[in-house]
Symmetry: C2
Subunit: 182 residues, 2 copies
Amino acid sequence: MNFCSQCGQPVSLLVPEGDHLPRHVCTACGTVHYQNPKIVAGCVPEHEGRILLCRRAIEPRRGYWTIPAGFMENGETTQDAARRESIEEALADVEIGSLLAVVHVLHADQVHVMFRARLPKPEFGAGAESLEVMLYDEDSIPWRDIAFRSVEFALRRYLEDRRAGREQHHFTAIDLRPRSAG
Amino acid sequence: MNFCSQCGQPVSLLVPEGDHLPRHVCTACGTVHYQNPKIVAGCVPEHEGRILLCRRAIEPRRGYWTIPAGFMENGETTQDAARRESIEEALADVEIGSLLAVVHVLHADQVHVMFRARLPKPEFGAGAESLEVMLYDEDSIPWRDIAFRSVEFALRRYLEDRRAGREQHHFTAIDLRPRSAG
């Protein structure tokens, strides 16, 4: 961030009075521009025991497999967002179920919120951001080609819980930030 | 948003190619400025059966009672944020427990994520954003003076679950946006 989105003048990085972290503050109008984590909402759609995965047509991780997921928009719930992403990325109209995973992706300033989901009919296809979309048996999931650690986490918890006949939710954090020396 | 935070030139509100919603797009450098919901993290701290509440010293809802909660920062988990807010607002060092509530506050573009928490010692006080902080028995909670609907939702679910001896999580949405005619 270089300029104030309110008035267009340059911003400085400083700790505002009463605050404890550096913020981008406008040198002209004084507006404080906070930056906060973004929510990525997604789901693990299942149809008759098989899992719907999408092969990414866009960077990052083009060519790798993922679940339908994307940035939550203003004005929708996390469940709305997960369902919308399934339609956009996999042309799949899913029913969102229970909360599966919350993954704090600390190096990306993102919180990934994943749900279980049911795909009632085997109707799907590649949306604009997908190269292909497929239903996978548990035994054939391409673990070596999964796009993101958060997606692998969600898939593994999903399958473990399914085997155990339960629907739990799972928190974790992934932190690939470079460590400061000392 | 009036100006591009990258280059300082004016932005226009338009639907970018391949997108489906209007975004603020820079007329000079083409940067698309997405706006997404922010996470507010908080907790319901309990000490020997009583609930810790804070009376707000700041707007909105100055003078009304709330639980420790605030905007999640980059680089922390939702649990980190809930614990930090308890320290800042109530000078209370809590142990964050299970997920209690996820409230989509649609008119504010916020997702409130609330946890159960334990306050091991009855040590607390009014932080800079609180007028006073108190432990309340269930019967004396000031329901008419609770600051926000999401806080009332979390408190009621907390007490219901405690009575029933369970720890569930609860999703809901609150939408105070004006309805469009027709």
